[in-house]
Each structure stands twice: as C-alpha cells, then as structure tokens.
C-alpha cells in the first residue's frame, strides 16, 4: 500500500516561539549555523490545570505596553481567600485586554481556517472579538469560538496571510471547549508559559490564559498573578456570547522556590463577584535536565 504523507499543520504557539528567538541573548553565539543546540525550550507549554504566572521577586512588574487600563486605580494589595466568594472593591484596578469586535467576515474566515485542521466546519461563530497582542508592539489577537456539530472550538491568534511567495502563514492556538476543568466551569486552554534565559537568570516573562464558560449573570472575566503573595493587576475582558477569554502576563525575576498564584474571577454588571474565586498554585522549580533553567510546576500535580 502506498503511504500518504500526513497533512501539514500550522505551527502552534507561534508568538511564544518567536519571542524566545528574539529574547535569545546570544551567549552561545559562535557555534555556527547549528548554533541552536537543544535546550531552547524554556517556554513551558500548558502546565496542567494550574499553570502559570507572575512574580515580583525584585519588585519588577511590567505590563505590556499596548495594554490600557479600565480605570485609574492602583494595583490591588489585598488577597482573597481561595474558596470564599468576595465582592471586589471598586477601587481595584483592572487592565482591559479588549480591542473591539471582529467583523462577521473576519470572524467567519478565522473560525473556518482554525477548525479546518480537525475537519470541522462552522455552524456558528461566538465571541468574535479582538484582544491585545501577545507581545508588546504586536498587533491584536483574534479570539473566536466556533460551534461545530456537538463541539465548540477555541481559536486565538491571527488569521493566515499570503506572503510575497504566495504561501499562507497562520499564527493561532486551537483548543476544544471542555467541561472537565477541575473548577467545574467549562472552558478551554487553561495554561501558562514561562519565557526565561536558558540558565534561568535575568527577567522572566510569565503569561497565563483561559477560555471560560461564564454564568448568565457574569459580564467580565478577570485574572491576576501573585508572586510570593504580592498581587499584580487584574487583567479583564468582557464576556461575549456567554464566553470569556482572559490573558494575563508579567515580567519578573524568578528563582527556584518562588510561589506563583493565579486568581480568576467573574464579575456581574455591578462589579460584584459571581461564584467563587478560582485559584491555582504554582512553584518555580529547576528545569529537568540540570540546565540551570527554571520552570513552573503545579502545586496540585508535583512531579
């Protein structure tokens, strides 16, 4: 039987890989064209249900330049209980990641391309919005959910464009909505990434993101990162069509032993919290292989 080549796929995590390339400090330059010897994978792709972010070991907290603020409040300084519903103070700052709506044509084109890799077609487009790009200085990312048959697919990134050589290039992440998240709320792609130098020194960038199926009364989804108990700003996005997508990131100096906590909450129109605060605990640990690098480990699923 003649064997057929598997179909081509778009590179996942494209922006993160590009960031890693551009953040290369060249310490190992001079090794020739094959200079990239293993060990480049300092980005921790989805680290289980818990996974991600933040730090302020050296008091450094940087928010991507393109991010604007919903209000002029200062960063929250209080910590909330992992399990107790709370009503957030209106003075808490929230950094909006929303950047408007997609047109129907844009959303349909993006959704169609996104689900094509699994042979699905578009029955309905939900959450056709734009958010701030993943990297400072980059354009917006598109966030679209696609209902197809009995499934709902999640697409975040940018639609493919035709280059001068006629080839299409895409840059998006793909996932499937699930009700199997430990918190009981449906969603997709709860993950995080850590970009750091290979030897673990210097400033690291942590990013965390999630799609969430919101209760009917929720109008916003927010997420923040705490490092060693010190909270960063809430990152906020509107709930659209019953779905929310939130992404938060910080830059900080991280060392093994640091504690990272990710908090996610849903708010109603009046700014009151809907349901429980969702909490994930992480620890900064040495990377496997003894490279001197660091990575994140879920406190719920230690290795």
């Amino acid at each position: 039987m003649i064997k057929q080549l598997p179909a081509e796929r778009p590179l996942p995590q494209k922006q993160e890989i590009l960031e890693r390339v551009l953040s290369d400090d060249g310490e190992r330059a001079g090794t020739g064209a094959g200079g990239g010897r293993g060990g480049h994978r300092t980005w921790l792709v989805p680290v289980a249900a818990a996974a991600s972010i933040a730090v302020i070991a050296g008091g450094l907290l940087t928010i991507p330049a393109l991010v604007s603020s919903d209000d002029n409040g200062t960063n929250p300084a209080d910590q909330t209980s992992p399990t107790t519903p709370t009503t957030p103070r209106t003075s808490e700052s929230a950094v909006s990641i929303d950047r408007g709506k997609l047109t129907d044509a844009e959303a349909t084109a993006f959704g169609t391309e996104c689900v094509k890799s699994v042979g699905a077609t578009v029955d309905q487009i939900l959450h056709a919005t734009k958010i701030v790009g993943r990297t400072a200085g980059s354009s917006t990312d598109w966030t679209v959910a696609v209902k197809s048959g009995g499934s709902t697919y999640a697409c975040v990134g940018r639609i493919s464009q035709k280059g001068s050589d006629g080839r299409l290039t895409g840059a998006y992440d793909f996932g499937t909505f699930s009700t199997k998240h430990p918190d009981g709320l449906g969603g997709s792609g709860d993950g995080s990434g850590l970009i750091s130098k290979i030897d673990g020194t210097g400033t690291a960038k942590l990013t965390t993101y999630r799609w969430i199926v919101a209760p009917a009364t929720a109008t916003k989804v927010q997420r923040r990162i705490l490092v060693n108990g010190k909270p960063g700003a809430w990152f906020s996005s509107d709930v659209v069509d019953g779905l929310g997508y939130v992404r938060a990131s910080v830059e900080a100096r991280l060392v093994s032993g640091n504690k990272v906590r990710i908090e996610t909450r849903l708010l109603d129109d009046a700014g009151n919290q809907v349901g429980n605060l969702l909490v994930q605990g992480m620890s900064v640990v040495p990377q496997v292989g003894g490279s001197g690098g660091i990575t994140l480990q879920s406190d719920d699923f230690p290795r």
């Binding site: 003649i2 060249g26 989805p46």
Partner: protein
Amino acid sequence: MEVSPGQMVDDDRTLWARLQDADEQALTDLFHRHSDAVYNFAFRRTSSWSSAEDVVQATFTALWRRARDGRIDQLTLDSARPLLLVMAGHECGNVLRSSRRQAALADKLELTDDRGGTAPDHSTVAAAKVDDERAMSDIRRVLDRIPAKQREAVELVVWADCTIAEAARVLGVPEGTVKSRLSRARTRLAGLLDLGSTEGLR
C-alpha cells in the same frame, strides 16, 4: 503582521538584506512567513510535532544569532525558504541528539496532563497528532531505504515544494544531480511512497 490591501509587502530578498543589519522586524516577518514550512519540514524529518517545534526555534535562533554577529550572506534565491529548510535539517540532528532531555520533558507534561490538565481540551488534536507521528514514522522507515542525499532531494522538492533550481542551489549541486537523485528515489520507492513525477518539475 497584519497586511491591509495596497500595503507593500517586502520580498524575502529585501527582508534578508535588512536581516544583515540585525533588523528585528525583518526576522519577525521572515518567521511569520516561513515558520510553518520549517515546522512541517522538521516534522517530516523527525516524525515528532514536539521536536519540530524545537527545530523551528533552533533554526530561527541560529539565524538571529548569525544576523547579530554580522554573518548573514546575501540571499541569492527569491525565497529564503529553501535555505531555512536546509538550516532546519541541520537542527533536526541537534534536536534528535538531545532527545533524552526532550523525553524527560515530554514525560513530565504527559504526567500533568494525565492528572486532569489541559488534555481534554485538545484531545482531538492530540490524537490526530499521534496518528500523524505514527504514519510519519512508517514513512521514514520506508524512506530510509534510500541514500541520504536522495532523501534530502525528496524532502525539499517533493514534500516541501522547492523547485529543482532552489534545491540545487541550497544543496550546492547541479540541477541535473537533483533530478537524478529524485529519479532514483522514485524508482527505489515505487509502490511504497507516492513521490509524484520528476517530469514537469520546475
């Protein structure tokens, strides 16, 4: 990079020339333009989507380091893709040699996924990728029946859509040599792999 109608898009030669000055945007544009091609080329070489991601990063990191070191030569082809694919081929060897470390990381990720992580969100895609990897491994076993130089010609011309001229240039051989390698590969693998026809290849 979002391109609006009427906006000029730099060709690869222009981007490559800017890369010689370590222009970060040029590297970014080249990455968005060719990373998918490198990714799929690397998958077909390694039979692993995960390793292919590493190869993409290693390839563009090597390119970026060369740019910053002022070691980027002039691009003589219209497209940078064939050159990037050859670079990726070198990086595939490096990534495979560091497979022990990769395996440790993979085990760790698999472990967390098994305990209620993100696996359910991506189960469909994950299963399809596993199927891809099995299929590709089978194909590689067949392809290993022919010499490395013939395999390289197949990977570049048949699978990655490089022209005969492009493959010849980046491999440093005459076009006739590429054609003959392809012809021999097709003969040896007839009935096992669909390698198309050398006739009419550009």
